[in-house]
Structure formats: C-alpha cells, structure tokens
C-alpha cells in the first residue's frame, strides 16, 4: 500500500513523549465518542503499481480513436509540447497562491504577462488573473454590471452558449436579477430584437461572437446604442477566433469574457479550464478575482504582488466583490506559454487555418445531396441542416470513427436536424474528405 507519511514507529514514540500523551488516539479526545464513524467502508489501499493498472483500464474505456468535429465552445486544438513541459515544473504546479511575493515572483510574473496577453488579444485595457471557466466568468461579468449601474434586468441573446446560460440561471435563483433571453432568428442573432429590449432599466446586454451556431457578427452599432442608455456591454468571445476576427475592444465592449480552454488546455472531460475576463479601463476596480500588479521592493527593484486585495473576502467578508478566492493559475500559465509560443504570427495563422479548414468542410458537405449548409459568415464552426435527425446521423458516424458534431437539439429542442460542426487546425484535409465520404454513405 502506498503511503506518504514518513513516520517511523520510533518517530511517533518520540513525538508522543514530547507532546506528553501516551497514544495518538488521545489527540482525538475532543471528538465525542458517540460521534465516531458508524462506517468508513473504503477499499483497502493499493500499491502505486496496482493503482496505475486500475486507472489505465478506466482510461481505456473512453474512445480515443475518434476523429473529432465536436465543438460547442470547447475545441480540440493543437498544444505545443513545451506547454506541458513548463506547466509540469514542480515549482509552478506545487506552489500555493502567491500571497508571499518574495517567495512567488515566478507565478506573479507569469500571471502579469498573462494579464497583458489576454488584454492584448481582446483589444481591451485590463484582464484579471483568470476565473474558473467561461460560464462562471460570464456570471461574474453580469454581477459587475449590476454593481456598476444598480439595475436588475439582463438581456441575453439566445445564441450565447447554452451551458453558460444555464449556469447564470442557477446563480440568480435566490437574488434579485432578471435574466431575459432574446430568441434567435433560426440560428442568427437578431440584433433588432435585442435592441428593442434595451432600456433605462437594463443592467447589461450579453451577446456571443461567434454565436453558438457559429455565426460571426459585428456588435459595434448595437453596443453603441446600448451605451446611450447606460447599459454595460458584455461580449462572450472565443480567444482563438481573435487571431483574425474583430475584437471585443474594437466593438467597444465594456467587459469581455470567454472560455480559455483553447489556449493550451486539454479537453479533459470538462476541466480544468480557464475563465477569461478583460475589461475597459473604468471597470478595473470592479473586476472580481485576483489581479497582479507591478511595484518596487525596498531596494527599488521591480517586483510583483497581488493587488486590490482589500476588496476581497479575506477582508470584506460579506461585502466582498465576489466570493472567488482562487484563480486557475496553472491554466493561466499554460495559456501564457501557449500564446508566447504562437506569437503574433502563429496566433493569426492558427485562426486562419481554422477558418480555411472549416470552409473546406462546408464545400465538401454542400456537394452531398440533402445537406443544407446554413448561410452566413462563420469562423471554425458552422451549422448544417440534415435530411434526418442530427442525433441519428451522429450515432451512425461513430461507427465510422467520427465524432461528427453537436446536434443542436441537445440544447435547442426545436432544431432537430441542425448539426453544429467544429473544425480546428488539427483536422487534416484527408480527415475532412474521409468525413464527407462517410457522411455521404450514411445519408445515401
């Protein structure tokens, strides 16, 4: 059995003697006898060797051979090997939150660079040190808006990731915030309808680009109109798309949030991921979560600390900006290494490759009888309407070795034959051709 307690019997004896008790059990006498566990029925311990074989077996019960065109906000992007090498450095991954700056300049500097890069790709002024994931980051953005203008109504486009929308609804069950969802026009975000909902009681407007069906928009005009009513504009973004697509900053969003998984995080069945948040200057002091700032030490040397901590729970308790007491530091580290390796050119090229491969896929599918590829500008994900329920199509494509996409009906009950297909730079032309061939067979 593996153990990580190094105590020998002699150590235990000596320590007990020094403490002045005869047995370890005597250290637990504050626990009333009648409260001792009724059961503690766990398996017996195992060696590392035995444990590894159990988990190898479990891992093998997940299919790793599928060629994936599944997206939905979480993508199979390429991760350079150096990302793993850096993030598996013990000095990073076994460190604690950098509350002691003299012993944590490595983490602090890396996060400071991360903040710079996230602000840079989003085209906004500042970013925080990261939040749990995209969905929870969106809630934090909404809470910021409500704190800023003291209004209660939040307008959310139905094209925002449904997983995010569900989280927001959970968060507000016991507080006074109204979430109003505005319908799509089939798969298209309806800016006119959104505009009609905006008024002086609206705290925030939430839209996503590209929307859940892959449609790219420019929300510049809509945001401008919202601003005239004192509404906070929140844009949900997909970081990889910003290699070529208009930024939240260029559209004049106030707060931009996104899922950062695509910046070097493996899919890992749902986490750990990375909640991105960038803001326009005037919101910086309202931003929740950790923030690293630059200063000087006693000898005038450049140094870094967690700053604006007075707003947080340790001090403000029930009046804190948020209850968040951590960030996804290791994921933020992976993102900063990923973005450094990609650099200006790689970041742009990755986005272009995604766009190019997705367009190639569209062209192949258009050749198949009965398949209708939905019109409109898209990035790396798009919607196709099939002559059969999309769920049935996906089931049959598994047999051919493909995760064929996401049936929209998983989240939008009325869209039975809509399939959302995601294509990343990892998908080769051959894989796309093979997919098209398999699809043709299934549909014939």
């Amino acid at each position: 059995m593996a153990r990580f307690t190094p105590h020998t019997d002699r150590d235990v004896r000596q320590m007990l003697d020094d403490i002045g008790v005869e047995s370890v059990d005597k250290l637990f006498t504050d626990i009333p006898k009648n409260l001792r566990p009724e059961s503690f029925d766990l398996p017996a311990g195992k060696s590392e060797n035995e444990t590894v074989s159990i988990f190898n077996d479990l891992a093998r019960r997940n299919r790793t051979d599928l060629v994936s065109f599944l997206g939905g906000g979480y993508y199979d992007h390429f991760i350079p090997a150096a990302v793993d090498t850096v993030s598996s450095r013990s000095e990073f991954f076994t460190a604690y939150t950098p509350y002691q700056p003299e012993a944590s300049q490595g983490t602090l500097r890396a996060i400071f660079e991360y903040q710079t890069m996230i602000a840079g790709i989003a085209g906004l002024d500042y970013a925080n040190a990261s939040l749990y994931d995209g969905g929870t980051a969106l809630y934090e953005a909404i809470a910021m808006a409500v704190r800023t203008n003291n209004r209660k109504k939040v307008i959310v486009d139905a094209g925002v990731n449904p997983l995010f929308k569900r989280i927001i609804r959970t968060y507000v069950i016991n507080i006074d915030v109204d979430i109003i969802e505005v319908d799509l026009k089939e798969i298209y975000t309806d800016t006119d309808r959104l505009e009609a909902h905006l008024d002086e009681n609206t705290a925030a407007l939430v839209v996503q680009n590209p929307n859940f069906f892959g449609i790219v928009n420019d929300f510049g005009e809509l945001f401008e109109k919202a601003h005239t009513s004192g509404i906070v504009n929140i844009l949900v973004f997909y970081p990889i798309s910003l290699g070529i697509i208009k930024t939240p900053g260029e559209m004049k969003a106030d707060i931009a949030v996104g899922e950062g998984q695509s910046l070097g995080m493996p899919l890992s069945f749902g986490g750990p991921y990375l909640g991105l948040m960038a803001v326009e200057k005037k919101f910086v002091r309202k931003m929740p979560g950790r923030i690293v700032g630059e200063t000087v030490d006693r000898d005038g040397r450049q140094s870094f600390v967690l700053t604006l901590q007075a707003r947080e729970q340790h001090i403000r308790r029930e009046k804190a900006t948020s209850n968040i007491c951590s960030n996804q530091a290791l994921c933020a580290l992976r993102a900063v290494v990923y973005l450094s390796l990609m650099g200006k050119e790689g970041f742009r090229n990755t986005a272009l490759l995604c766009l190019e491969r997705a367009e190639y896929m569209k062209a192949q599918l258009k050749k198949i009888k009965g398949v209708r590829v939905m019109d409109g500008q898209t990035f790396n994900e798009f919607t196709a309407v099939l002559p059969l329920p999309a769920g049935d199509f996906v089931d049959r494509m598994f047999a051919g070795g493909f995760a064929a996409g996401l049936p929209a009906s998983v989240f939008y009950k009325d869209k039975d034959s809509h399939l959302i297909i995601g294509v990343t730079e990892k998908r080769s032309i051959k894989e796309i051709d093979d997919y098209a061939a398999a699809a043709r067979k299934v549909l014939s």
């Binding site: 002091r285 604006l308 007075a310 707003r311 001090i315 009046k319």
Partner: protein
C-alpha cells in the same frame, strides 16, 4: 490612539465628518478613520446629481488592508467629488479635514445635524472605542 478632531465639524459613528458651508457641505473621513484604514489607495468617485438620504451609502474607499463604505452624514444631492483624490488618494491620510475632503453635497436640511456628534462628543466617542 491620539487623533485630532476639529471644531466646527459634525461627526458620525462611522467616522465621517461634515462641514456646512452655506447651502453646501463638504464630507470626509476623520483622522481616527484614516489611521484605522492605513494608506488610502483609492476613493471611488460618487455619482454626481444623485440624491442621498442621511446615513445612506455615499461611496467606497480602499486602503491596502481594508475597503470600506462611506455613508453620508446629511441628506442632499451630490454636487462634487474631490478630483484631486484621483491622482493623490494619499491626501486623505495627509490632510483628512481639508485637502483630503471626499464629496460635496447640496444640503436638504441642516437641522439633521441634531443626529450627529459635535467635536467634543466625537472625541469622547472615539476615546471610548480604544
């Protein structure tokens, strides 16, 4: 703690002060409060034109070790913020009763000072807190 209390000002239990100047009044925090908070790092500009009732939330103030709410000692309409604090929040530490004032309001009812402490009463109040 030895802290100064100025005559001619009124004080609240939350350590704000108010000094009436005609129809307007300046508001700030007391020497006791700035000592307790330590180095002030930020004062949030309150919303001009907003009406506030006596003891309502006025704005927020942050130091390295604390973030606190400031409540208005009198009812009125917020007419000004001490813009100098934007660049130099430390004025609240250096000169809390004069240069480090925080907001100015147009006073609704000067009679509300009956709910506040004068210098002598406030001095006694803070002495009791130690």
């Amino acid at each position: 703690m030895d802290t100064s209390v100025l005559e001619g000002y009124f004080y609240t239990k939350e350590h704000e002060w108010v000094k009436i100047e005609g129809k307007k009044a300046k508001i700030g925090i007391s020497d006791y409060a700035q000592h307790k908070l330590g180095d002030i790092t930020f004062v949030d500009p309150p919303e001009k034109g907003k009406k506030v009732k006596q003891f309502d939330f006025l704005t927020g103030i942050e130091s390295v070790k604390a973030a606190s709410d400031i409540f208005t000692p009198l009812s009125g309409t917020i007419s000004a913020f001490n813009e100098a604090l934007d660049q130099a929040p430390e004025l609240v530490n250096k000169s809390c009763y004069t240069e480090g004032w925080i907001a100015e309001i147009e006073v609704d009812d000067p009679g509300e000072t009956k709910n506040l402490m004068d210098a002598a009463a406030y001095k006694k109040f803070t002495a009791g807190l130690e």
